[in-house]
């Protein structure tokens, strides 16, 4: 990884001297992107498999389709996201509050994570953990894989603890002040991740590691699955919320506008903190052994998570409209043309947001217990998550790198044009992919299947020719997009530096409330009644520890009976290696 970082000798200026946290952030981002590059490189092989083209047979370094899929899923969904988020949500609150993180702890987080990922990589590359990224027991992989996965999570928790500590200290020093928005959103995301990661930590540390080391003889697969999905659903919010942080807190400035409503942004994040975790059972609608009553209750809570996302759609839309109108746009929809469509920072994120509309709608289908029966474990599901985490999150992160890498390294973006092409091609590639995959799913084509050699699909394959061709083609479009993206990224990283005065700023956005408040005449009362009301509401929302406690309580209610039942009546079975 170190080879991709800028040279240590900087001619005339020390880029990291003033803000050494820039360096640890850069390491997180670049390491994450390198792992993403490996994961994405395997993508076209998976896509071509859907088109019936079997590249795996002629690959010397991958033993099977499933080994490739394990790498693709683990690297893209788990590794890249965790690195990127740890870097971004450490850096932004530190800069917004103007404090320096404990650098030793931050680097410790980075190295714990990296050691973990390398351990897991040894297992997966050696074909000793071909478990896909869900690693359901009783399929049993090498202990290296489980220990590595645990270290990845521990590394992220170390960073999260850093941010929460920084915020707590800031709060103590500013008791009557409202936490600045980006910090608030980042802290809420980390607190949500603390609550949400418990399931995975318990599963891996108490069940899978001892079992893979031979210390225990069996694992209860239903208990393990339940703990996995306890974390497995909210982890998607751990991927999504950093994108929301950018959409709410940074994108308005990139679009020339202001944040439409800080209060709504804060309310949305509090709702995510409360509702993200007690919803994982909707991944287990098809599981025997879990009561239907709890599934239905968690379905209701899943639907409630729709509310903060709809609030976000409104609020971010309003911010962009304010920006476009300020730039001279008008009419019902004419303002859209006045958005900065030549700026890759904006374009990548705007396309990510557009993609999230069908992505979120498909999520409602998956969360409906009756409709889930039609799509569960079909190609519909990867179709869904490639336009949510694969685009809403990933394309937003691409947009973020277009300003963040120049900001951190003081090296301007190598090519605006190439960045724009990469964004549009990723968008259209994923659109094709999603249409193909959702369509195949409705026909009944299963997900996670080596389709090129499948024998049990009868006439389903014949009916799925068109969508399967779409999936294959989309893989090629996405490959071009990825090549362009990584080219512009690494050309930037190895490009020439500019002076401190030309450094790309962090686009922290102003908000409408604050702008109006400042516009008041000098003699006017400093705090209007409406302003005081908003301030009061924001102070209530600032009590994030209280909401965390409520989130935990909700988890205990929603998961307690199910988990206690499984723990009192365990059904362990031995592990098997079937690949």
């Amino acid at each position: 990884m170190t080879t991709t970082l800028p040279p240590r000798s900087v001619p005339d200026e020390r880029v990291y001297a003033l803000n050494p946290e820039k360096k640890v952030t850069l390491y997180f981002l670049v390491t994450g992107l390198v792992f993403l590059m490996v994961g994405v490189a395997i993508g076209p092989l998976q896509a071509l498999n859907y088109a019936g083209i079997d590249v795996y047979r002629s690959l010397p370094f991958l033993k099977s389709y499933y080994q490739g899929l394990s790498l693709h899923g683990v690297l893209n969904a788990l590794v890249f996201t965790t690195y990127f988020i740890s870097g971004l949500l450490l850096y932004l609150p530190c800069r917004e509050l103007g404090v320096r993180p404990n650098l030793k702890m931050s680097w410790a987080g980075y190295w714990i994570m990296t050691v973990g990922v390398l351990m897991a990589a040894v297992a997966v590359l050696g074909n000793n953990a071909t478990l896909l990224y869900t690693f359901y027991p009783p399929l049993q992989g090498s202990p290296l894989f489980y220990i590595g996965a645990a270290l990845l999570v521990v590394g992220s928790l170390v960073i999260g603890a850093q941010v929460v500590t920084i915020w707590t200290v800031w709060k103590r020093r500013h008791p009557r002040e409202v936490t600045p928005l980006v910090t608030f959103m980042s802290v809420a995301t980390w607190l949500m991740w603390f609550v949400a990661s418990l399931g995975l930590v318990v599963e891996v540390v108490f069940l899978l590691i001892p079992w893979s080391l031979g210390l225990t003889r069996g694992v209860d697969p239903l208990l393990a699955r339940t703990l996995f999905w306890y974390t497995g659903h909210p982890i998607v919010y751990f991927w999504l919320l950093p994108a929301y942080v950018s959409w709410y807190g940074l994108l308005p400035r990139s679009a020339g506008g202001v944040i439409a409503s800080q209060t709504m942004a804060r309310l949305a994040f509090v709702l995510f903190l409360l509702l993200s975790t007690p919803v994982g059972l909707h991944h287990q609608f098809a599981d025997p052994g879990i009561g239907m009553g709890w599934k239905v209750l968690q379905m209701l809570l899943t639907f409630l998570v729709v509310i903060p996302s709809l609030l976000t759609a409104f609020s971010v839309g309003a911010s962009l409209e304010l920006g476009a109108r300020a730039r001279g746009g008008g009419g019902w929809s004419g303002w859209i043309r006045h958005l900065p469509w030549r700026d890759p920072v904006f374009v990548a994120q705007a396309l990510a947001m557009i993609t999230f509309i069908p992505g979120g709608a498909g999520g409602i289908v998956n969360a409906s217990v009756a409709l889930d029966a039609a799509v569960h474990n079909t190609a519909w599901i990867p179709g869904h998550f490639h336009i949510t985490v694969g685009t809403a999150t990933t394309l937003t992160f691409f947009g973020v790198t277009f300003w963040l890498l120049p900001h951190l390294t003081r090296k301007p973006l190598a090519s605006r044009r190439m960045a724009l092409w990469a964004s549009w091609l990723w968008f259209w590639g994923m659109a094709l992919f999603a249409v193909g995959m959702h369509w195949e799913g409705l026909i009944g084509i299963p997900r996670r299947t080596y389709l090129a050699t499948a024998t049990g699909l009868g006439d389903m394959l014949a009916r799925a020719h068109i969508p399967m061709a779409l999936t294959g083609i989309s893989g090629l479009v996405l490959t071009v997009a990825a090549v362009l993206y990584f080219t512009v990224t690494f050309r930037t990283l190895f490009g020439p530096r500019v002076t401190a005065a030309q450094e790309t700023p962090i686009p922290f956005s102003d908000s409408l409330e604050d702008a109006e408040h400042r516009a008041l005449p000098a003699g006017a009362a400093t705090v209007s009644p409406a302003g005081a009301r908003i301030h009061g509401a924001q102070l209530v929302l600032d009590r994030l520890w209280v909401f965390t406690a409520l989130a935990l309580l909700l988890v205990v209610i929603m998961y307690g009976p199910t988990l206690i039942g499984m723990l009192l009546n365990p059904h362990p079975v031995p592990g098997l290696r079937l690949w």
Binding site: F303, T449, V573
Partner: protein, 169 residues
């Protein structure tokens, strides 16, 4: 230029719309469950069978079982990388309760006829009462990754027209 109070008003309206949408969504799904779009949601309970000791359970002889009272039970065992029986013949129009059990790792089965889509977790028996109406042969395969032979784990459901004598296996 919109001021923040106008936006706030619209936003509250949008919040109300969102809540109403969610309530309607929940009511709609509950309605589809009660009307049995997917049959037996509330009725069928799962049970547990030790996957290492099938002897003495109906899973020792997988296939269609006709009970003394004329009701039908089908026992299906999933094992890497095959279903037993690999072909299940059922009469059209008659209620059959499917009992599915995995004995090694997690498998899955989806049958477009009868709205079956179930995870097969070792030992956890899925009990699904279904009535298959359209005669024909339905081919499908395991839909949860179970190892290197996952893509060859096929299952055939043959729904036979009611006029034919019913075959047991």
């Amino acid at each position: 230029m919109l001021d923040h109070r106008t936006i706030e008003r619209y936003e509250l309206g949008w919040l109300v719309v969102s809540v109403v949408l969610v309530v309607m969504l929940f009511a709609g799904v509950l309605g589809s469950m009660i009307s049995e779009t997917v049959p037996g949601f509330f009725g069928a309970r799962s049970s547990y069978v030790d996957p290492a000791h099938l002897t003495g359970t109906p899973f020792a002889t997988p296939g269609l079982h006709r009970n003394a009272d004329g009701t039908l039970d089908a026992y299906i065992v999933a094992r890497a990388f095959a279903f037993q029986p690999s072909t299940l013949r059922v009469p059209a129009g008659q209620r059959v309760t499917l009992h599915l059990l995995s004995v090694d790792v997690i498998h899955g089965l989806m049958l477009e006829q009868g709205n079956v889509n179930v995870e097969l977790i070792p030992g956890q028996v899925a009990n699904l009462p279904r009535t298959f109406t359209r005669p024909g042969t339905y081919t499908t395969e395991c839909n949860e990754y179970c190892g290197s032979g996952h893509q060859t784990m096929a299952f055939h459901l043959v729904v036979e027209p009611p006029t034919q004598p019913e075959a047991t296996k």
